[in-house]
Symmetry: C2
Subunit: 332 residues, 2 copies
């Protein structure tokens, strides 16, 4: 069940803007007496983590809600209950839309911290996130290293490449200039899969083999993209897409010269991920090691590209399990 | 200078549709007494090959217009003088638009052949094309192997992958549903460059370092995409984009079981090309060898992705020179 914490005093953003009130939608699973595992979701997720990340999280799963108290909140700027561009701007009584202030991954991490303070929790046993989720945890751990004992960053990045920013730009251009979030979503799906994964899944199969040529959708991969775009338009706010894609472009936490974190890190990357591939995790690994951090990094073979973090890839789950339960027998 | 051949009887397309009249815009360079090198252009090119392919073709260049008679025509379905969706439909007196018949790469090759017949030319010393240009030459050489002595196929393909078709689909969806050819062009530019090339060219440079965050273009790579989209909108027809992208999706010449071609082939692919990368050329090489063809394939190191075929990459030019001039001392 999703609950909402309302902070009337709001949050002062890194830009200086003051966002008030701040509402944070969150969900909790398992016994509050158990160690806390905090989940940060990625671009299009929400607080109900046992639904969209059920490969990893739930009763008896790798992140076992029978043994941990799992908390996840909709992220700042989101459209699933936490204050974002679709929320009402108290200054106008209208939706914020493009008047919503620009924010940073640090602001997103501060929102998670505000939630935990509201729940009376000072530190977490582990924090876990994939992609933009991992980016939030990394920033949080660098800013407040005593609050996260173990950080699991799956196919995350600490610095988008020019190509990453380019895809991000095209998505924003489609949304902003053409009201075409469906185009943005289709393009994103191509970057979430791998060439190899798409070949395995679709190859050149046509819905009606041997039919006449058509300019309309014909190949199965086309129908897949049509379907993904349609369901996404029904569930997501275009302004949230604009803001969250932009947050990622500017993210560069190691440029701030952070201090040595006592957090222990597990980085997982996937062999066929070409969105935030292994070189992104290698960069984080190098930067964290240079700070003296305890960090391990595993590249896991998988044909499913960036999407692998949401899938049941046994070697990846084994690394997460080994890391999360290590030295934990006494506690758990 | 671009001239136009008008064929009142038109062309019967592979689909059975009859396209009449057929106009073919073409340009010729160098002495007509010299051996003919025929150029097929790619998606967005035109007949004036010494302009857009001046790295390779011109006086004293690798394809030397002082030694060869170079001919290039705007391709079928194009928007630079040859009959296409922007032409007038004689049945209605209006632009064809989406009433233009669907056509195939074979129809494109037949258009080139019709031009040559009109010019009184029966066979060519060499045919050269990159990307979609190479695809036309491959089809032509398989259908009429006696007409092309030497074929140079640069970063071409004989079968688009699921990922290729997916990008093609998103481009068409943007144009067809959102009148957003700018989005299609921006996305295409990402696929024409490589991750490495974009990093070398743009990295994370911002137009105004240290300026405030903005949802508008800020990083240099964003301004580059804005610029490319703007100039493209001014020069290209969206319907041509729709049709030519679709032609490529359906292309699969080896599925027809062609006969052994006497044409000699040079295939060049580029190490960082992820649109029609080396695996595409390897597939063509294998298929041509299985037919008993004389084929050589070189993968050339280059950071510039698919765009490498338009650039001055010395090793690539050397392979083209060696191949085009081989056994040719007497003739030339």
């Amino acid at each position: 069940m999703v609950e909402t914490l309302v902070l009337p005093e709001g949050l002062k953003l890194e830009s200086g803007a003051h966002l008030a009130p701040l509402e944070i939608a969150y969900a909790r699973y398992g016994d509050p007496a158990n160690p806390v595992v905090y989940i940060c979701h990625a671009l299009t997720g929400d607080a109900e983590v046992v639904t969209w990340w059920d490969t990893l999280i739930g009763p008896g799963k790798t992140i076992d809600t029978d043994r941990f108290h799992v908390i996840c909140s909709n992220i700042l700027g989101g459209c699933k209950g936490t204050t974002g561009p679709a929320s009402t701007n108290p200054a106008t009584g209208e939706r914020y839309g493009l008047d919503f202030p620009l924010f940073t991954v640090r602001d997103m991490a501060e929102t998670h911290r505000a939630l935990l303070r509201g729940l009376g929790i000072e530190k977490v046993y582990a924090a876990v996130g994939g992609s933009l989720g991992g980016m939030q945890i990394l920033q949080w751990s660098l800013d407040h290293p005593d609050e996260i004992e173990r950080a699991v960053l799956v196919c995350a990045t600490a610095r988008l490449s020019a190509q990453n920013i380019a895809f991000s730009k095209v998505a924003r251009h489609a949304i902003h200039n053409h009201d075409a979030m469906d185009v943005a979503r289709m393009m994103a799906h191509i970057t979430y899969l791998s060439e190899e994964g798409m070949e395995l899944k679709f190859s050149r199969a046509r819905r009606v083999p041997g039919a006449e040529m058509t300019i309309q959708s014909d190949f199965e991969v086309e129908h897949y993209l049509d379907h993904q775009a349609k369901i996404f338009l029904a569930r997501f706010d275009p302004h949230t897409y604009l803001y969250l894609s932009r947050v990622m472009d500017y993210y560069e936490p190691f440029a701030d010269g952070p201090a040595a974190p006592p957090t222990k890190y597990l980085l997982v990357s996937f062999s066929s991920d070409w969105r935030f591939g292994t070189e992104h995790s290698v960069y984080m690994e190098e930067q964290l090691r240079a700070l003296g951090a305890d960090v391990r990094h595993h590249e896991v073979e998988s044909p499913w590209g960036h999407d692998s973090f949401l899938m049941d890839v046994p070697e990846y789950h084994r690394h997460v399990r080994d890391f999360v339960y290590q030295e934990a027998a006494a506690t758990l």
